[in-house]
Assembly symmetry: C2
Homo-oligomer: 146 residues x 2
Amino acid sequence: MSLLFSRQCEYALQAVSYLALHPRGRLVSIRELTKRLKIPYHFLGKILQGLVQKRILISHKGHSGGFALALPPEDISFYDIIKTIDGTQFKHQCAMGFSECSSESPCAIHDQWEKSRNELYKLFSGRNLAEMANAMNKPGYRTLKL
Amino acid sequence: MSLLFSRQCEYALQAVSYLALHPRGRLVSIRELTKRLKIPYHFLGKILQGLVQKRILISHKGHSGGFALALPPEDISFYDIIKTIDGTQFKHQCAMGFSECSSESPCAIHDQWEKSRNELYKLFSGRNLAEMANAMNKPGYRTLKL
DNA sequence: TCCTAATCAGAGTATTTTATCTTATTTAAA
DNA sequence: TTTAAATAAGATAAAATACTCTGATTAGGA
């Protein structure tokens, strides 16, 4: 089971991060992405297709084609990806699964969870892909490098 | 899609919270629980069966049977429930889905996510059901009351 | 021009999760 | 002692998610 996001969404975040490490406009093939990220080939194809339709990525068919960010990395946040794939439920959902949970009618852990959730929301929406890429290029980071 | 935990786990947390509101040892039927919590009858039956096998609950068959906490509510935390149903992945898992993510080989958001995750872990493991029940009995709380 | 390496698109399959059905068993109360 | 109200347990169904396959289209390069 995945934790915060669906598999699809996790894969999308990974792929988009990888694209952000490349110079603007440079096309990266599904082949390269799936090899590097260990994601099933056709599954990633589908996911990226979706992001093209949502105008987050662009793609070129044919020989030496591939995918690239549609916008400058400064203008894309993780949350932009998350909401196109998993929707916006992240901002509202109760941790215990109560549908009617709110500050007027809270569950036993409503306030604390809301606090953590807001911090996470800030993390995902407040930083753009350029900042992410910078962080990944610093010496300590090793998970995703060109 | 559920967020932090599986549906099963959410239902279990709801049910166990409801049991904690009752006097120690008082049996509550599946019927009452599912009515009160709007959980599918047989599905909750299965879930509670599992918690009985894990010795978190006790059950009595037959007329006026039902379920109750196996231990004093002071000795049960949300995390006790979570780990029997969803396992312990919550404590380790990377938000971006990288399997090799760690402080030695972190992803772009590793540190911040770890911080939030630890706070959440404290929330779920550091408070017991008695404290939860107290919180739920205070005036402001309305989601779950007897 | 023709071949090959790509994505595109949609259908199809597999797996996991969620939910239901059915029958058996237990037990308190009438 | 009978009956009704419970849980136990296994089988099955439905839905959601994850993944695969295939054929079409596109476009660069030999």
